[in-house]
């Protein structure tokens, strides 16, 4: 395959995953939010995990970034996007390191990504709203563990079943 072909294929793959990611973000807005603002399933993280394992870290960054921008334009408000950016940067960094260490399964990587994402969100809230926002961290972390584990299991199943993607891209 020529390098041009490879690039085209990569753009198509990233576009496809971004679309799935975005759709999962939309599905999330339909789910109830357990009474706390910012509580979400984080289903989009399944896509990011998939990209992280099957494509490169940069593909995961691109998919995450485009998703946040799309989400902001279509559903969101600016403060939501700022929380998301903070969370996503930290979360991607943590997931990248844990994946690279090779000592964790997708469940562990997803758990850490979720927890660090929550931490980033609360950090952004503390900067914007004051230290009172720190009170949100414990419930977010506990709920984030549950959703992170679910996402990690789903990502693991998908990675196991979807063959012929990624490393051949």
């Amino acid at each position: 395959m020529s390098s041009e072909m490879k690039m085209t294929r990569r753009i198509a793959t990233d576009g496809l995953l971004t679309a799935v990611c975005f759709m999962l973000s939309y599905v999330e807005t339909l789910l109830p939010s357990a009474g706390l603002p910012g509580v979400k399933m984080g289903l989009a993280n399944i896509c990011v995990l998939f990209a992280l394992y099957r494509l490169t870290t940069w593909d995961a960054v691109v998919i995450s970034g485009v998703r946040i921008i799309l989400n902001w334009i279509i559903f969101g408000n600016i403060s939501g996007a700022i929380y998301s950016v903070f969370g996503a940067i930290l979360s991607l960094g943590a997931m990248y390191m844990l994946k690279k260490s090779g000592k964790f399964s997708t469940i562990g990587v997803s758990l850490a990504g979720g927890a660090v994402h929550n931490f980033g969100q609360v950090l952004a809230a503390v900067i914007m709203l004051g230290p009172g926002a720190l009170g949100y961290l414990p419930p977010l972390l506990i709920l984030g563990e549950a959703t992170g584990a679910v996402n990690g299991i789903v990502a693991g199943v998908i990675l196991g079943r979807v063959k012929g993607w990624g490393n051949s891209v």
């Binding site: 000592k103 399964s105 562990g108």
Partner: protein
């Protein structure tokens, strides 16, 4: 159990502990200092912090602060009702020694006596 599964569980436990730690750190400084207000003949005579220990003398009345609660230890009054009153520690609780015109009252936020 394989190694990655064990690491996953350790990670989950670590995150849960971090959550609990943040929760506890948030709870403890939130317990605000309470104090015992001494009112004599209708005017506030002293405000004693409840976290200290000691005895405050107001006329014939001795007020003792210990273990986060306040009580009237001695009084020159005939009935000694105030001395028999249990120690007080919650906001809004009070002990009154009517003959001596002394009242002690817990002020500040924290565990509230008045529901």
């Amino acid at each position: 159990m394989n190694k990655t599964a064990r690491n996953d569980i350790l990670l989950a436990v670590a995150i849960a502990l971090a959550a609990v730690a943040v929760f506890l750190i948030r709870i403890f400084p939130a317990a605000p200092a309470q104090s015992c207000e001494v009112i004599h003949a209708g005017a506030t005579e002293a405000v004693l912090p409840l976290d200290g220990n000691g005895v405050y003398v107001c006329g014939s009345v001795e007020i003792e602060i210990s273990d986060g609660s306040a009580r009237i230890k001695k009084s020159g009054c005939p009935e000694q009702i105030c001395v028999k009153h249990k120690p007080i520690s919650r906001s809004g609780e009070a002990v009154i020694c009517a003959p001596e015109g002394v009242m002690i009252r817990i002020t500040g936020e924290g565990p509230d006596f008045v529901q």
